[in-house]
């Protein structure tokens, strides 16, 4: 008599199922790592796609009640009445980020005096910074320009992107909105929603953010957020 009464195997062992799930998870994580996708951002975007009322959160946000989230390397920086003020003289202040791609938003920025201010991105080794800066720079060239520089061991290189300001641009107009989009090898800066300068470089794939003053500059900003890059 054959095993007609023998109990049939009902399915895979739980151990085998668990192994399968673990390796699938490893595979998906590896794909995300190789493609450079942020796992938490990817999951957030899936949620947003399913429920448009949700939004992905900020990577970083500061309304400048104090400077506890910042590493002051040099210069005069102060948080007072909800504003960050910087300058005069050479000053650099940084905040680390684990993300590689992001959008920096500076709200209500006013250049009170001097030849401009800078926004660092993909910055590392902040005591002798390697990274990039966007500079709102009335002192560059004739009439001022919007420029992007690369930094090597604390030394600023000649701009790899520079666009002269439009005729009649008021550098000291209060409450400008500054946005710097950092995505892959391409970086784009906007002033009051208008694209001012864009540049490309592949030297630094990751790093945090920062702000810069130099010479007679004093400026202030009300709020800073760092959000996922579009």
């Amino acid at each position: 008599m054959k095993g007609s009464g023998r109990a049939r195997e009902s399915g895979q062992a739980y151990t085998e199922y668990a192994l399968m799930l673990i390796f699938i998870a490893l595979f998906v994580s590896s794909v995300l790592a190789v493609t450079g996708l942020d796992v938490s951002l990817t999951m957030c975007r899936v949620v947003v796609a399913l429920n448009s009322t949700q939004q992905c959160g900020h990577y970083f946000q500061d309304d400048f009640a104090n400077l506890s989230g910042w590493n002051i390397i040099s210069g005069a920086w102060q948080a007072a009445n909800g504003f960050l003020t910087g300058g005069p003289n050479e000053g650099r202040i940084f905040h680390n980020l684990s993300q590689s791609d992001y959008t920096i938003n500076l709200k209500d920025v006013t250049l009170n005096q001097g030849n401009g201010y800078g926004v660092f991105f993909r910055a590392s080794n902040t005591s002798a910074v390697n990274g990039y800066s966007f500079q709102y720079d009335p002192g560059y060239g004739s009439g001022g320009s919007f420029i992007m520089r690369k930094w090597v061991n604390g030394n600023e290189l000649a701009p790899f992107a520079a666009v002269p300001a439009p005729a009649g641009f008021n550098w000291n107009q209060p409450n400008r909105q500054i946005q710097v989009v950092v995505k892959g090898n391409t970086f784009t800066a906007y002033v009051d929603g208008k694209k001012m300068v864009s540049g490309s470089d592949s030297t630094y794939p990751s790093g945090g953010i920062g702000l810069r003053t130099w010479d007679g500059t004093t400026f202030r900003t009300d709020n800073l957020t760092v959000d996922p890059a579009p």
């Binding site: 590896s30 390697n130 002192g139 061991n153 290189l157 130099w214």
Partner: protein, 136 residues
């Protein structure tokens, strides 16, 4: 068939179990492959492709030698400096598209260069004009 056949524990492999093992093996291979791709994207892996040497002389606008710092970018960062004649030689640079950065007094200029494996790439005379304060 006897009782011992009914309670036989070493069941023969079923086709579905073989397919599971094949799928597991395929996933393991893919994970290892993706890990290898990630490795070769790293700066350190660039050295596996071979290295070369880059050389040059840094001078000012009057052709006088300059004492400058030299950085080679594109596969991490290699630091060197010129000698009293303004000359520099940097060995062990991963082959491929790189850039040489000349720095003086807090400002610098970047020069693209292609490094050949096992060879010296002579960049010639690099005329350096200070860039420290164009933002003034």
């Amino acid at each position: 068939m006897g009782i011992q056949d009914y309670y036989q524990t070493d069941l023969p492999k079923k086709p579905i179990r073989v397919r599971l093992y094949v799928m597991l093996a395929a996933v393991i291979v893919m994970v290892l492959l993706l890990g290898a791709i990630k490795l070769f994207q790293s700066d350190q892996a660039q050295y596996l492709l071979g290295t070369g040497t880059v050389a040059g002389i840094v001078v000012d606008e009057s052709d006088r030698p300059l004492n400058a710092e030299i950085y080679v970018l594109g596969a991490g960062m290699i630091n060197s400096h010129t000698d009293e004649n303004g000359a520099f030689t940097v060995q062990g640079v991963p082959s491929g598209q790189r850039s040489v950065v000349v720095v003086m007094n807090g400002g610098g200029l970047e020069y693209p260069v292609t490094i050949a494996t096992g060879a010296t790439t002579d960049m010639g005379r690099l005329r350096f004009i200070g860039t420290r304060v164009p933002s003034k």
